[in-house]
Structure formats: structure tokens, C-alpha cells
Symmetry: C2
Subunit: 302 residues, 2 copies
């Protein structure tokens, strides 16, 4: 079933201990869409500027991603610059130029309005809600990502949006911030009272947690010989997670567990190369092989 | 098969956000021995002072732990004082009074010299090696723990001791420090060249990793509703790990994976109450139930 993502498409300037680059294709919606495209049909709503070329758009075209919702606006594309510490444990944001993203007002092409699966990437919660208002048929599953900025600046708007969401995917720091609770189990319980029945807590190199009903499921991080660039890994995680669910058309506990694995697989591949490079060459066969590898990484019999 | 542990028995003064106490039974060998006693016969070598009473010794007697190797020396028992931060992410050491532990020179009673399983808890690597010299029959498995102090202060002695060890159990920070390598896979490869064929990397709330031959196995941390006191959790992990291996009498990959689970189970129980309180009331039935819970926490089928 088709999957709609609404969020940023950007150019990133990235500094890692290995490499620096000034203009790397980025943005949550880009990483999400490419990751999800290995599983299902993906539709993108976002905005780019005059500097976004046909060559930049190739990453979507090659993966069969529908970009009729990718609006072109006068101005420059959203720009983010960041620098990683020597061991990738810290990231410093050096610049955030919203550019055309400052006035982004997501408009769903009519073909997108019946999307059964929706992912609202990290944008203003009021805009996230406006997307849901444009939907003409009740979606099967709505998932949302957010960040500290919205948790701090627009808590009431975020709370209102969360009421309409099935799955919240956020990192552990945001989980603690949103709930005001350090203990993750208690934090999850508080957040699930805000609306989302399902919570996916991304923990970077330490893996991810699913809290859903009485189920707690934990997947460890996949150990890489070398992390080249973690940019976009969380968005690719969400893409693998939602892409898998859309491909199976259900979200029972068994499917959610598998979705956690595929999310981790896509996140781990993303870290192997700079920007979205690894996602450009990735194949479904490699994805499935790593999913089996995850099984080996975690299996035991008492 | 019987399991020998050599290490500290101590009194701890612990400050947590929930509770403070001045004289809590502690020490690596104590936590290890009690945790391991749920699986196998445990023999302890250590030293205590005049202030260690029959009532303190009860924790060993109740669990059927052999303490003929627990020497009594003139002076006070090793004393450690520490304070945890509000969310348990930081621990500050407030005092370390070695007392009788300063001149500790482990002597194995003759009955201990044929121990097939040996755990050298965190003490001076020269003393750890002296234990191995007293063994009259080649042990089936020797495991060792160490800490930043020895990695920094006595690197040559530690390296020499590591040559005689099968399993190294240390935390992630120590893994990085000992190897001079941030990436854990590469760190593990370097450390395994120093001697230990098997490396267990303890990651606190994030679980633990096993690196053995071509196998990498990861177990997530067990999420508790409330952590009361993490003191001794790493030692209890080691006790569950080694106790299980001694109980099955083998250390193939399947057994090592299970040992990781039982280590995690014992570590998680330890955090539930203050000091060794939870270990005093724990039962094998509860341990097995939580091991099955770990299976639910991690299982998926693609």
C-alpha cells in the first residue's frame, strides 16, 4: 500500500572526521522516502528551491518515488550545516537556513489524499495536523516524528497533533523531554496517554525500543566496522519501519517487530557512507541479508 | 562444576536519589558470588576486617557459598563511598579506603586449587596472575574483569595477565580505553589479540555484547520501571554469566548466548533494590521467568 511522507528535502553541509562536503542531498523526507521505497510505493510532499536540479531529483526517480507533491518555490532549498565529533558521539549544528522551507505549507495532490500510510516527518506540528486535515479517507496508520525544538517551543500544538497519531517515532532524549520522565518505560506510558498507541524510541548506536500494548521489544544497534556519517539514519530508520508496515498492510505485534528490524537495517546502512550514498546503491537483497544478520545478532534458545 | 571468584568484599556507603546508607555489604566478589550461587557451587577468596560480622557473612551462608577462602585480617574491611546523579547516568566516588584490601594477597585453600571455573574480579592484575599460579589443574575457563585504574596505571602487568585469560568482561568505556579504539568491533578485535578469545562488553542500561570467533551477539538492557541502585550490577552480570557456564560445563556459542541472558537477568534484578537486597530474596524461579521475558523482549520472525 502506498506511503505518504511530508517533510524536508534539504542540502546539507557535513563535516565528519573522514570527509567534508558543502552540498549533500539531505532532509528527513528524502532519507525516509528512499529507505521506504525498497518496500512500497512512496509519495513525497515537500518543497525545494531553484537550486534543486534534475540531477538532485534523480535519487527519487531511480527509486520510483512519486514527487508530484514536491513543490518548487522561488528561493533556495532548506540548508543545514553540521559537524560531528571525532567519535560521532556529538553533533554541532553550524547553520540552519530555512529558505523556501520557512513558508512551507504542505499541499496534498489529490492522488495522495487517500494514502493509507502517512509519515509526518519533523516539521511544525500545526503543519503536520494540516496534512491530516487534507486526507479524504481515514488512513490505516499515521506516524509522526518531532524534535526538541517543537517540544520546547510549541508544546500545546504538538500535544494537539499527537492526539491524531498512531505511532510516534522519536529518540530517547526527546522521549524524556516530551514526558518529563527519565525512566523510558514510564516515559512511554505517559506519551501513550497523549495519543499514540505505539511508541518507537530510537537510541542511535544502541538500537531501538518498541512499546505497544503490553509489548516491549528491543533491537540492538547493528555494529559497523566503520561509521562514515550518521546523518539521516533516524529518518532512514523511520522509512524502513513504515515502508515495511505499508508493504505488509498490517501492524499487529509480529509485523511491528519485523518493522523494527527493517528500520534498524536501513538506519545502519545509511551510516556506512556519506550522506545518502549508501542508499543509492543499496538493494533489497542486501536489506534482507542484513535483516537475517540481525536475527543471528539477537537469537538465543534457553 | 564449581566456580572460584577472587576479589573484593566491601562495605559501601551509597547515595542514590531514593536512599542513603552508610554501611551496605558490597564488593565485586560478594555480588558475583551471590549471583553465581543460583547456578552452581561458588568458592570465594577475599579478605575482610574485624568489622565484618557473622551477620554480614549470612549472605554467603544462606546461598551455600564456600567462604573458607575469605581471610580475616586485622584492620577494617575495604570501604567505598559513592553518589549517583538524579537519573543514575553519573556516579561519583566519594571515598575509597582500601584498609585490609591494601595488603590483600590471595591464597587459595587446597580444595579450591582444582576449580574448573575461575573469575578474577577487578583487582591488581599481578594478584590476578598469582591466583592462576596457585591452580594445580588447568581450569576449563578463566574470566577476568578489570577497570580504568589498572588499564592506566599497570598496563604491562594487565597485558601479561590477559595472555592467560579466556574471557574478558569489561564495560564499553574500558573496552575503548584498553584498545585505544572507539569502534567496538575493532576494539574487540584488538583486545582478542591480547589473549581472551571471548569478550563480553557490558553497556549498563543498553545491555551487553558478546564477541567470540565470528559471533557477535547483543542483548538489550532489561527496562525496569524503577532503578533503585545500580551498584554491583556489573559484578552480578558476571556472576550470572559465569555461574550459568559452570552449571552447564561448556562454553560453546549456544551456551555463551544463554550465559549473556542470565548475566543480564542477574544484573537487572540487582538494580531493583538497594545494595544486594534484591539478591537476598531472589529465587531461581524468578531468574528463569525473567530469562523467558528476555526472549520475548528480543524475539522476531522475519
Amino acid at each position: 500500500m502506498s506511503l505518504l511522507v511530508v517533510g524536508s528535502v534539504a542540502f546539507d553541509a557535513i563535516q565528519t572526521p573522514f570527509r567534508e562536503a558543502e552540498r549533500v542531498l539531505g532532509g528527513a523526507a528524502m532519507y525516509f522516502a528512499v529507505a521506504a521505497s525498497f518496500f512500497t510505493k512512496v509519495n513525497v510532499v515537500g518543497v525545494v528551491g531553484y537550486d534543486f536540479t534534475a540531477r538532485d531529483a534523480e535519487i527519487f526517480r531511480r527509486r520510483g518515488i512519486d514527487t508530484q507533491g514536491l513543490e518548487r518555490a522561488p528561493g533556495k532549498t532548506f540548508f543545514w550545516a553540521g559537524k560531528y565529533s571525532a567519535d560521532f558521539t556529538d553533533r554541532t549544528t553550524l547553520a540552519t537556513d530555512l529558505n523556501v522551507f520557512a513558508t512551507f505549507n504542505p499541499k496534498l495532490p489529490s492522488a495522495y489524499r487517500t494514502s493509507p500510510y502517512i509519515f509526518l516527518a519533523n516539521i511544525d506540528p500545526t503543519l503536520q495536523r494540516s496534512v491530516l486535515k487534507q486526507v479524504s479517507r481515514r488512513p490505516k496508520l499515521v506516524a509522526l516524528d518531532t524534535m526538541n525544538y517543537w517540544i520546547e517551543r510549541t508544546p500545546a500544538e504538538l500535544r494537539e497533533t499527537l492526539r491524531h497519531v498512531d505511532v510516534l517515532l522519536i529518540n530517547d532524549t526527546e522521549t524524556r523531554q516530551l514526558s518529563g520522565e527519565h525512566n523510558l518505560l514510564r516515559a512511554a506510558a505517559k506519551i501513550r496517554k497523549m495519543g499514540p498507541r505505539t511508541l518507537v524510541i530510537k537510541r542511535g548506536e544502541f538500537g531501538a525500543l518498541l512499546v505497544h500494548g503490553d509489548t516491549v521489544f528491543a533491537i540492538p544497534g547493528f555494529l559497523l566496522d566503520e561509521v562514515q556519517d550518521p546523518t539521516g539514519a533516524g529518518d532512514a530508520y523511520a522509512g524502513g519501519f513504515m515502508g515495511y508496515l505499508a508493504s505488509v498492510g498490517k501492524h499487529d505485534v509480529k509485523s511491528l517487530r519485523c518493522a523494527m528490524v527493517y528500520g534498524s537495517v536501513l538506519g545502519s546502512f545509511t551510516c556506512e557512507r556519506f550522506g545518502p550514498e549508501r542508499l543509492r546503491t543499496l538493494t533489497r537483497r542486501e536489506i534482507d541479508a542484513r535483516a537475517r544478520h540481525f536475527a543471528k545478532l539477537t537469537q538465543f534458545s534457553l
